[in-house]
Amino acid sequence: MLFPPFFAQFGNVDPWIFAFSFVTVAATIAMGFWSARQSKTASDFFVAGRSVSVGWNASAISGEYLSAASFMGVAGMVMSSGYDALWYPVCYACGYLFLLLFIAGPLRRFGAYTIPDFAEGRFDSPVFRKIAVCFVLFIGFFYTMPQMKGAGVTLAYIFPGMPYWAGVVLVGAVITMNVALGGMKGITLVQAFQYWAKMFAISVPVFVLMAVFGFYNQHVGANAAPGETAPRAEAVEIARKPLTEKAPKDNAWVAPFGPLTNKAVLAAAAARPEAERAAYLAEHQKPYSLLYTYSLIIALVCGTAGLPHILVRFYTNPDGVAAKRTTMWVMILIGVFYVFPPVFGVIGRNLMPELYSGVGAKGTDKVVLELPTLLAAKYGVLGSVLSGITCAGAFAAFMSTFSGLLVSMTGALAHDVYGRMLRPKSTSAQRMTAFKVAAILIGGIAILLGCFVEPLEINFMVGQAFAIAAASYFPLLFMSVWWRGMTMKGAATGMLTGGLCALMAAALTNFSTLALDKGPMGKIFAGFSPLNELWAQYPLLRILCEQPAIWTVPLAIILMIVVSKATKAQIPSDVRMKMLVLHAPEKLGLKQEYIQEHQAGAGH
């Protein structure tokens, strides 16, 4: 064979799948190195010299945003949970509208490198910067875990004998090196290229699969809703395979309030005496599912507007109008994309139900990668080629998001912690070195965390990162842009309380899920299994922990208002000027005026 003996030990590798993945990785790395030579100054490293056109920037934002969750996780979750999982792609795309309506324009006009820059500038408070920096890291690490799982799943699929953790370590190390050497300028180009790679990789296999095995609507129609008899007229040609034992039933899967949202109530019912179960379910099942759905929607919509690695890109627009146009294009680019992943999930349920029995890296999260191989029976090598293309897309997905996250987390550490707190007088060369060291440090932690999360669903984990962003950065940005009565203490109290509550809730949920695992993770986290008993008694508590946004977002906003009112005297004295800079059209040139006054003031 063509492969070095190193790969031979991982079992029978499909040469097509390997070739496509390898080319994607090689092209990404080559672009990183090529652009490393182009970016010289520290400013280039952080926000690409602020000169990126709308088309490039929109592709780059979309490329960075479409992570392993979008590419693999949505399909996997639609397959495992059905209708309810559709809220994820819808809100991932539509959350940008909130960003556009309330935050994108003002933030760009204010002009700063990062969210911590904004936090400091808006409240004239270096202390607040330190608090804000923490959340770049919190949200970032929660977001990198699912990317790492995507890497582990994909490599375990390409090299059937490879353990999950080895994939995580390999991919994590490669991207970390790439970021340490390339910086943001490279990332803009690479991200834009990767959006189009992902779009191609998700859409082409979908069309081929639909042409051969029947269309999206027919596959949905093959699942009988409550009160219907299967198969329906549209779906008679669909040759379904029998569902395995673990798969949800048709009527629960195709209708709202299914297995994703009613899991906690079902677990609670199972813990009750048999005679009470039916009455308990009739009373609680639907209301709790509705609550779960709303909390999920709030987390995803508000969370999109508070993701640090997305927001930093708005500063690369030349002006506020361009920032708005960019957002519009991002919504179109990602909206079109998000129609496709659920198709994989639906076809996967009908034609590849054996994935329901798999656990961890062998479960439904790999449906996007494996589904095209069904074509092999009829069309031979075409199945391998298309599977190779989806694997290449998956690589593009977790590589681009992971590198984007790494850049903003590293930027926070190098630019904020090192450049401003530890060594304010450091030279440009020292800062570049700090950037590289920070990249390796953060990459290492992300790899370590990634090794633990094999039993958790990719899409679910990304949802948790959104929930934390929704309870911390979203209230901060929204309130400081639109309410001039905010004080630093109000903003900090609200952001810290809301964000930390969401963080704790998400962590507890994950620990308890890991405690249920039958593999090694179950042993490590066994101490948390009493939580599952508690949650079987109080399913509402479980739902509020699993989807915390419905209480943490209002909590953060209320705290901001109450504390700001109590510390009214500390409203920044030049708040009117700040508000003007945030809201007045850039043509009036208020930003320059503001900077001049600020510097004059500091000189006294």
Partner: protein, 105 residues
């Protein structure tokens, strides 16, 4: 203690201009947000109170699946297109207003 900079007494720096600016922009944003949230938050309610209607089959899809799986995306594009057009026009108006204000003083 906070002293408002006395040098700026033109229209741009006046309290009334800022209020007008923020109110107009916010009301545009809120109009769009209410349309969007009405649809987004209304869907689960429809699923809850009118399950038979939402389970109506449209060429294989359930109505509910068709709406959030496909139709919701173009709906959001329309809102954002309207918003961008209006907000750019608003900014033009504001610039014109501010500049005419400067000249009359």
């Amino acid at each position: 203690m906070p002293l408002p900079p006395p040098s700026h007494d033109d229209v741009v720096h006046s309290e009334s201009f800022l209020r007008l600016l923020m109110r107009r922009q916010l009301s545009l944003s809120l109009t769009c947000a209410v349309t969007f949230l009405g649809a987004l938050l209304g869907l689960p309610l429809l699923n809850y109170f009118a399950p038979e209607l939402m389970a109506t089959r449209v060429g294989g899809f359930t109505l509910s699946w068709l709406v959030i799986g496909i139709l919701f995306f173009p709906f959001v594009w329309i809102i954002s297109f309207y918003f961008i057009k209006r907000s750019i026009a608003l900014e033009e108006e504001e610039v014109a207003q501010a500049q005419s204000g400067k000249e009359t003083r």
